[in-house]
């Protein structure tokens, strides 16, 4: 039973990553692509770690996986923000004469 549940969670996580990759390739604009990528990182990785947590031998490994997920969440959200802000600034800066 835990194996089946873990497989289902991992497959759902992979579906999110697939959606994120398709979004990266097909969406027209930087901001919408960032949006697609961060969805892959948030929920995709969350489902993946949940599936892996069901397979892990002890609670310590589960805690490590959770820590990895939280760290990547924060890092990807921050870098998406920085990239979007940089792009926004480049667009709206007044042109040199």
């Amino acid at each position: 039973m835990p194996d089946v549940l873990s497989a289902v969670l991992i497959i759902m996580g992979i579906a999110f990553y697939l959606a994120g990759s398709v979004g990266l390739l097909r969406l027209p604009d930087l901001y919408s692509r960032l949006h697609a990528l961060t969805k892959a990182d948030n929920l995709g990785l969350g489902l993946l770690t949940a599936g892996l947590a069901l397979q892990s031998p002890d609670l310590f490994t589960v805690a490590k996986l959770l820590l990895i997920w939280v760290a990547i969440l924060a890092a990807s959200a921050t870098s998406a923000h920085l990239i979007a802000r940089h792009a926004r600034r480049r667009e709206t800066r007044p042109c040199p004469r």
Partner: protein, 345 residues
């Protein structure tokens, strides 16, 4: 996992490695090259994990992908790139005429093939496992239970000593090349918030990797790289001194301590009548930890200085630059939203 599905996974992984290497080397935009190189490093770290080499995987992810990528990205800004001059993009990355290309390609393939033949010709035979068996049988005498750490710090300690000397030589070369870049501007509350908890996490992880290297994958190099990553994150957040000692003499002492402690241990053992770096088995674990701690600090300081691109600004630099400060301030303090590319108006 069945052998067939494992082979399928191998083929997928290896195809993506080759494709990433190819696109990183032939892409027209240099920034894209560097980012593809970082992705290449991470996928190669996956390959190391698959080949049951976790120490190498940790080092590749931290140093090969992370630090090398950061160094290349920081250098992108200052080196004349092939695409910043808008007209030269196509011409300057186009290769020279076909005879040269063909000859070099053939020679590269021949060299790579010869290397592979030399290494794989000895896959069978009694000599194949000789060193591995020697390591396994002497592991209890080495003072640690992780065989890679035992090989690095005990059985092949000379190599690690010379490697630390190479690192020191590189940073000496970098120090002679002039002052480093100024720190980036503090970039806002969100990145600050990330830095505030990421840096302590990296420090704790570095300490853990150093300690655990004795009996699990880890060790001085991985710990030093994690510590250097903490320094780079601080630099990106706008810190000028990055936690390095402000006194130049203390900084130089920390950098020299990697090789220094190793040499002191080796020579003391010589004086006590044992061979150079021949640890007595009862003390081996403690000596290895001592050497690794000094090496971690030295590696971290060296890599952070390498990222800065030179030495930390001293008082003399600040006073000397007072006249040229306006010009230097504009150029040396990089505006994160200005990278020289043509902007749409």
């Amino acid at each position: 996992m069945s052998p067939l599905s494992l082979t399928l996974f191998d083929i997928l992984l290896l195809v993506s490695i080759v494709v990433l290497a190819w696109t990183a080397l032939t892409s027209a935009d240099e920034r894209r090259s560097v980012i593809l190189f970082m992705a290449f490093g991470l996928v190669v770290a996956l390959a190391w994990g698959r080949l049951l080499a976790p120490d190498v995987a940790l080092a590749e992810a931290a140093i090969g992908a992370g630090l090398s990528g950061a160094l290349l990205l920081a250098a992108l800004r200052e080196l004349p790139s092939a695409v910043t001059a808008s007209g030269d993009g196509r011409r300057s990355h186009a290769l020279r005429h076909y005879a040269t290309q063909g000859t070099v390609s053939v020679l590269s393939v021949a060299l790579a093939g010869m290397l592979a033949w030399i290494l794989t010709a000895h896959f069978e035979g009694p000599a194949r496992d000789e060193l591995a068996r020697a390591v396994t049988s002497h592991l209890e005498l080495s003072g640690v239970s992780n065989p890679v750490t035992a090989v690095l710090l005990n059985f092949r300690g000379y190599d690690t000593l010379l490697e630390l000397a190479v690192l020191l030589a590189a940073v000496l070369g970098i120090l002679t090349l002039g002052p480093g870049r100024a720190a980036y501007r503090p970039s806002g509350p969100i990145f600050d918030a990330l830095t505030r908890w990421l840096t302590p996490l990296l420090l704790v992880t570095a300490g853990y990797l150093l300690w655990v290297g004795a009996h699990a994958p880890g060790g001085a190099f991985q710990a030093g790289a994690t510590l250097a990553a903490a320094g780079i994150v601080l630099r990106l957040a706008g810190s000028e001194w990055i936690g390095l000692p402000r006194d130049g003499a203390v900084l130089r002492l920390v950098m020299a301590a990697g090789v220094g402690v190793f040499l002191v241990v080796g020579v003391s053992l010589l004086v006590l009548g044992r061979p150079f770096l021949g640890y007595p088995p009862a003390w081996a674990g403690a000596l290895i930890l001592l050497i690794e701690s000094a090496a971690t600090l030295a590696i971290a300081a060296t890599l952070v200085l390498a990222f800065i691109g030179g030495r930390l600004p001293t008082e003399a630099d600040r006073k000397g630059d007072a006249v040229t400060a306006p010009a230097a301030g504009a150029g040396a303090n990089p505006d994160p939203s200005d990278d020289g590319e043509p902007r749409p108006c």
